[in-house]
């Protein structure tokens, strides 16, 4: 590929377009009730979709991923600080990977 510079620039532009348009133009608008309700569920819906099934292949070893995921779930239920939830999940994945 000769035009790597141009490629990176265009990739940057097409990544930026979906980021910039809604935030810039919808911020001042009062949206219809239904749309507002829809947008408020977007984080939860996207979060569910991002977690599963992606987490299962995140460490290249399903068991390690399941152990890490379970540890973080337990810590999150115990209302532990989110940074510790992250470390706990990594540690769980590491130990799970060593054992199996």
């Amino acid at each position: 590929m000769d035009n790597l510079w141009l490629l990176v620039l265009l990739m940057g532009i097409v990544t930026f377009i979906p980021r910039i348009l809604p935030l810039t133009f919808l911020n001042n608008m009062r949206l219809p009730r239904f749309l507002n309700s829809f947008l408020r569920f977007v984080p939860f819906a996207a979060l569910g979709a991002l977690i599963f099934p992606g987490i299962l292949t995140s460490t290249g070893n399903t068991t390690s991923a399941l152990v890490g995921g379970t540890v973080s779930l337990l810590l999150a239920f115990k209302r532990v600080n989110i940074t510790l939830v992250v470390f706990g999940g990594i540690l769980g994945a590491y130990l799970g990977g060593l054992l199996w």
Partner: protein, 245 residues
């Protein structure tokens, strides 16, 4: 009496900025190892170092960049790479729209445009799950700045130190952002049954799209967009009056 402080003023611009930095710490922990992995992979795919550095600076989107170097290494055509990148990031359209209602109204367009560059799955989630009704631009600036720095520092480390961490530790760190998402989701699911229902529904829908043979042809980015739209629509229909968590 016109100087009476409104509640929204309790958070000064400076404290909003530092709150943003603090909120980005778990993101940074996740971004550094992934950035390192990106740097290493780009190196092994034969991408020139300055291009790798520019990708993290200009694109700042993990999935796009990984797919990008993969496609470049495979010799995929120029426009196909651009199109794939675009589809992969369509979900940010929804996230950006959702965030637009969470940022203090009447924020200037220039500032919003600047802040929008920092929207990633992770910064969006952390911002959405804040308890404030409206986020100050300074908060998002702090959040984005640390996340962006961690991503770029990770990339440089991956390129220039290419040895990095032991393999077992590095692969374990691949789970970091997923467990951060779990850490964000669980507390709000405790507060709201609707949230729990929608998150589980999204997992079911995405699991279905992911494992159903003929649908697996769709790109992951598109599947996430479809799942998010279907599930959030269901949420808006079933729980029209539900307060956001």
């Amino acid at each position: 009496m016109k100087n009476l402080a409104k509640p929204v003023l309790l958070q000064t611009r400076y404290s909003a900025f530092t709150d943003g930095l603090k909120a980005a710490i778990p993101i940074a922990i996740g971004y550094i190892p992934i950035g390192i992995t990106f740097g290493l992979l780009a190196r092994s795919a034969g991408i020139p170092d300055y291009i790798t550095v520019m990708m993290s600076l200009i694109i700042f989107a993990g999935a796009s960049q990984f797919v990008g170097i993969n496609l470049i290494a495979l010799g995929t055509s120029f426009w196909e790479i651009i199109l794939t990148t675009f589809i992969l990031n369509l979900r940010h359209l929804l996230m950006s729209a959702s965030l637009s209602q969470k940022v203090v109204p009447e924020t200037s367009k220039g500032i919003l445009a600047l802040l929008s560059f920092g929207i990633t799955d992770e910064t969006f989630m952390v911002a959405s799950f804040r308890e404030e009704d409206h986020l100050k631009p300074e908060f998002l600036a702090g959040l984005n700045l640390l996340a962006f720095s961690a991503w770029n520092v990770g990339t440089w480390i991956g390129i220039f130190l290419s040895a990095g961490l032991p393999e077992a530790v590095k692969t374990s760190m691949g789970i970091a952002l997923y467990v951060m998402f779990i850490g964000l989701l669980v507390p709000s699911c405790r507060r709201s049954k609707a949230t729990l229902f929608i998150a589980l529904l999204a997992m079911a829908v995405h699991g279905f799209l992911h494992y159903t043979p003929s649908i697996t042809l769709l790109s992951t980015g598109l599947k996430i967009v479809i799942t998010t739209i279907i599930t959030a629509l269901m949420g808006a229909i079933i729980f029209p009056e539900e307060e956001s968590a």
